[in-house]
């Protein structure tokens, strides 16, 4: 299997009972579970419990405990609401009898209404970007190669951040931009595209909180605290999308980040939000979330 097929395989959960699922673990080069994997598997668990005419339009989640990469993750889905227009599901990801992640997601039957969207910023084409893993390696990130292996399904072209190559835009003090896509084709199921995007959305968002700070991310303890996505319009995760990320605030060892996701034709297709723990690494301290 190529890395994209491996990702699709990770998203193909085993159904244990009606609303109970089990997700495989990948072969990880790092002794941890990647948060985007848990978010994407939880999303798939939620999706499996709703009729196909309802599409996911938002998810809100908290990371509670670091995942154990040595055992599968159980996803337990609770049906919070079955309305006419909207359905709501709560998914608890658990290991060793304890919740490690908790996601609530909302589904909607398609309808039409008012239309507007932010304008895509003026950025270079994907071909003008730099390979993210290469950028991390040159930046002295000790974990670049391990992360590159973990995110092997993703093609990420870095366009710059606040300290390197990106001019401040729109009053933002800390920004990072990149083009992203899955390396190989994902097929045509829109639910797989939503899940693959969810997987990718956790790769770099928290990093934008450090764009303005002169620190080495591998010397900084970073852990996602929450993760939120609003899906505005359908799109393919295996075709280039711009991840326009900015951090309005950092304080109290926490950093806040938002991301807008545009397809190459300028359509705003999703918005993401994440708060994370960012603290200078001290010996022996452990993080609260999925990333150590």
């Amino acid at each position: 299997m190529n890395p994209t097929e491996e990702l699709v395989d990770l998203l193909d959960l085993e159904q244990i009972d009606g609303d109970l699922f089990r997700g495989k673990q990948p072969e990880s080069a790092r002794a941890r579970v990647y948060g985007g994997q848990v978010a994407a598997q939880a999303l798939m668990a939620g999706i499996r419990t709703v009729p196909e005419e309802y599409a996911v339009h938002s998810l809100h989640s908290y990371f509670l405990l670091g995942g154990d990469y040595a055992v599968p993750i159980i996803y337990d889905v609770e049906r919070i609401r079955d309305g006419r227009s909207f359905l709501t599901r709560r998914v608890v990801a658990r290991q060793h009898g304890r919740p490690i992640y908790y996601q609530t997601l909302n589904f909607q039957k398609p309808e039409e209404g008012y239309e507007h969207q932010d304008l895509i910023p003026d950025v270079g084409a994907p071909e003008t970007g730099f390979d993210l893993v290469e950028v991390m390696r040159k930046g002295g990130n000790d974990e670049a190669d391990a992360l590159g292996k973990e995110w092997g399904a993703l093609d990420v072209r870095w366009l710059g951040n606040t300290r390197f190559g990106l001019e401040s835009d729109d009053g933002h003090v800390s920004q990072a931009r990149m083009w992203v896509r899955l390396k190989e084709g994902l097929g045509d199921d829109p639910r797989v595209h939503a899940a693959a995007f969810t997987y990718a959305s956790d790769v770099s968002l928290l990093g934008s909180t450090l764009s303005v700070h002169d620190v080495n991310p591998s010397k900084t303890q970073m852990a996602s605290l929450d993760h939120t996505i609003w899906f505005h319009r359908p799109f393919r995760a295996d075709q280039w999308w711009l991840y326009d990320q900015w951090s309005p605030s950092a304080q109290g060892a926490r950093g806040m980040a938002f991301g807008r996701i545009f397809t190459q034709d300028g359509t705003l297709v999703a918005t993401a939000a994440q708060e994370g723990l960012i603290r200078p690494r001290r010996g022996g301290s452990e993080g609260p979330g999925v990333k150590e």
């Binding site: 339009h57 938002s58 809100h60 989640s61 908290y62 509670l64 405990l65 919070i80 609401r81 227009s85 709501t88 709560r90 919740p99 908790y102 609530t104 909302n106 909607q108 398609p110 309808e111 039409e112 209404g113 008012y114 239309e115 507007h116 969207q117 932010d118 304008l119 009053g171 933002h172 003090v173 800390s174 909180t209 450090l210 700070h213 620190v215 605290l225 929450d226 939120t228 609003w230 505005h232 319009r233 951090s247 309005p248 605030s249 950092a250 304080q251 109290g252 060892a253 926490r254 806040m256 938002f258 807008r260 705003l268 918005t271 939000a273 708060e275 723990l277 603290r279 200078p280 609260p288």
Partner: protein, 285 residues
């Protein structure tokens, strides 16, 4: 509905039924459903009552599930999701008539230091500037019944009127807000009161590019979710700028993201809300 800080505090002062179980009162309202900000604020209070110092609420995420019934109290059932060393997490289910009407998750942190940055406040006229339009109590009551009476609201402008056109963001709105009379000093009450007020005016930013508004009754609006990130301590009873951008509307939904600045220019909170925003046509909604 609350007309001043004292009445708001009374509404937020929950009755403890059992460990992790609370009851929130209603106040008389002319509206058929409970104001979302009230449910969000009462939930935050319920969660906070189960958490000991020194942990302080720094974020909440929530979904509105059913319209609240203003004729009966709301029961808040708190579940303990995590008691960590640095972080504590609670989930609150608000229920009436045996059904969940609202689900909120709240995260608390023990204070520590770290990296610091914050976006600057945009250049806007202050709340007392002659160009800034106070929204009178009478207007508020006409627009939103009586549930907004606890707020002083001054309208700076929106994409429809008063703000310069910004092609990057077609849906914008800026409003000064505060609780209309003084609150106690404890930050606990300021976070709760802010959460109450944070559900006001937001969707106006999404309506502004479409020639619709709350008052005209030409659109159906219902909050779907509500998230607040508290960055820095601040007083909800002193003016704060609610700087709102709606990045997207589509498929009968609209998203609004807002920054909250104190008058001295500090970024103190971020808010996000998605809502149903539908043209009101005939009988269908």
């Amino acid at each position: 509905m609350p007309r001043d800080a004292d009445e708001l505090l009374a509404l937020l002062d929950l009755e403890k039924l059992d460990d992790d179980l609370f009851r929130g009162n209603q106040m008389p309202t002319t509206r058929p459903m409970v104001f979302g900000g009230q449910i969000a604020a009462q939930s935050l209070v319920a969660a906070s009552l189960t958490v000991e110092e020194p942990y302080v609420a720094h974020s909440l995420h929530s979904y509105f599930l059913q319209p609240g019934d203003p004729s009966v109290p709301t029961v808040y059932d708190v579940e303990n999701l995590r008691d960590g060393r640095s972080f504590v997490t609670r989930r609150v289910i608000a229920q009436q008539h045996g059904r969940p009407i609202y689900a909120q998750t709240v995260n608390f942190q023990k204070a520590e230091d770290g990296f610091e940055h914050g976006e600057s406040m945009p250049d806007v006229p202050g709340p007392d500037d002659s160009s800034v339009r106070p929204v009178s109590r009478k207007q508020q009551e006409e627009l939103h019944a009586d549930q907004w009476n606890v707020a002083d609201i001054r309208f700076v402008g929106s994409s429809a009127q008063g703000l310069d056109e910004d092609p990057r963001h077609p849906g914008r709105q800026r409003v000064w807000l505060r609780v209309s009379s003084p609150l106690p000093d404890d930050q606990f009450w300021h976070r709760a009161a802010f959460t109450y007020l944070s559900d006001m005016t937001l969707i106006g930013a999404a309506m502004s590019p479409h020639g619709i508004s709350f008052g005209k009754g030409d659109a159906f609006v219902a909050s779907l979710d509500h998230a607040v990130w508290f960055h820095r301590p601040f007083r909800a009873d002193e003016w704060w700028l609610y700087d709102q951008v709606s990045p997207s509307a589509s498929a009968g939904r609209a998203l609004v993201i807002a920054r909250v600045f104190t008058q001295d220019g500090q970024l103190v909170a971020s808010v996000a809300q998605e809502a149903v925003l539908r043209p009101r046509k005939g009988a269908s909604s």
